[in-house]
Amino acid sequence: MRQAPSRPRGPEPDPVIEAYKKHVDRTLLRENLKLTPGERLEKLAAFMRSLREVQGAAGPGRR
């Protein structure tokens, strides 16, 4: 995806966000970055369908 013009960096690093960042699975992000935006959104739709199927298998009303 072509990126919008770059702007000056925003606020300083937030310690809470930095703490969360340590737990981000970057392997998933790297795999997604190999795809086109369209492929990423197809993947999202497929993931949401599979999530729905799992929820359905767990029984009515389960989340």
Binding site: R2, Q3, K21, P37
Partner: protein, 164 residues
């Protein structure tokens, strides 16, 4: 226990908005996913242009999808028309294609015209749409200051780092 939430038909909604020639920018979780975010998201959020002609196109496009205010009790006399869109700003809707957020403005981000220069075009689900750029997406999520966004912001920033 409430019923499981069903994800919107993202492709169906985007194709409808494009077919209706609506001016909009995809924001939120779907925009994050277009950039590479690996998180579940259930609704499609778009920032729409507030020009009178665009409001008319929005009504013509979304009106047939049985829009109703999300979370509102059934039976309210809600009319999805240009007059109500002008009177309001942000609308969280249910539609026959799933949940749709119509945002006149983003906290800390402004409206369609303010975001346009920081949006990017990409093809998805067979149509070309505008998505908010990654850097601006992070900025508006930070500005919103919602605790529920902290993990998503961390992942978006990690994504930005990985992209280099």
């Amino acid at each position: 226990m409430p019923p499981a939430r069903v994800a919107a038909d993202f492709g169906g909604l985007l194709r409808a908005l494009r077919a209706g020639d609506v001016d909009f920018i995809v924001v939120g979780g779907v925009a994050g996913a277009a950039h590479g975010l690996a998180r579940a998201t259930y609704d499609l959020d778009v920032v729409y242009a507030r020009s009178p002609s665009n409001l008319e196109r929005l009504v013509a496009t979304v009106g047939p999808l049985s829009p109703y205010l999300r979370g509102a009790p059934p039976g309210l006399p809600f009319r999805f028309d240009a007059a109500n869109l002008r009177r309001g700003l942000n609308f969280a809707l249910t539609t026959s294609l799933g949940d749709l957020g119509l945002l006149g403005e983003l906290t800390g981000g402004g409206g369609y015209e303010d975001l346009l220069s920081d949006s990017v075009e990409a093809e998805a689900y067979g149509v070309t749409c505008r998505f908010l750029g990654l850097e601006r997406l992070i900025a508006v999520k930070r500005a919103a200051g919602r605790p529920k966004d902290l993990e998503a912001i961390a992942e978006l920033e990690a994504l930005e780092e990985e992209r280099g």
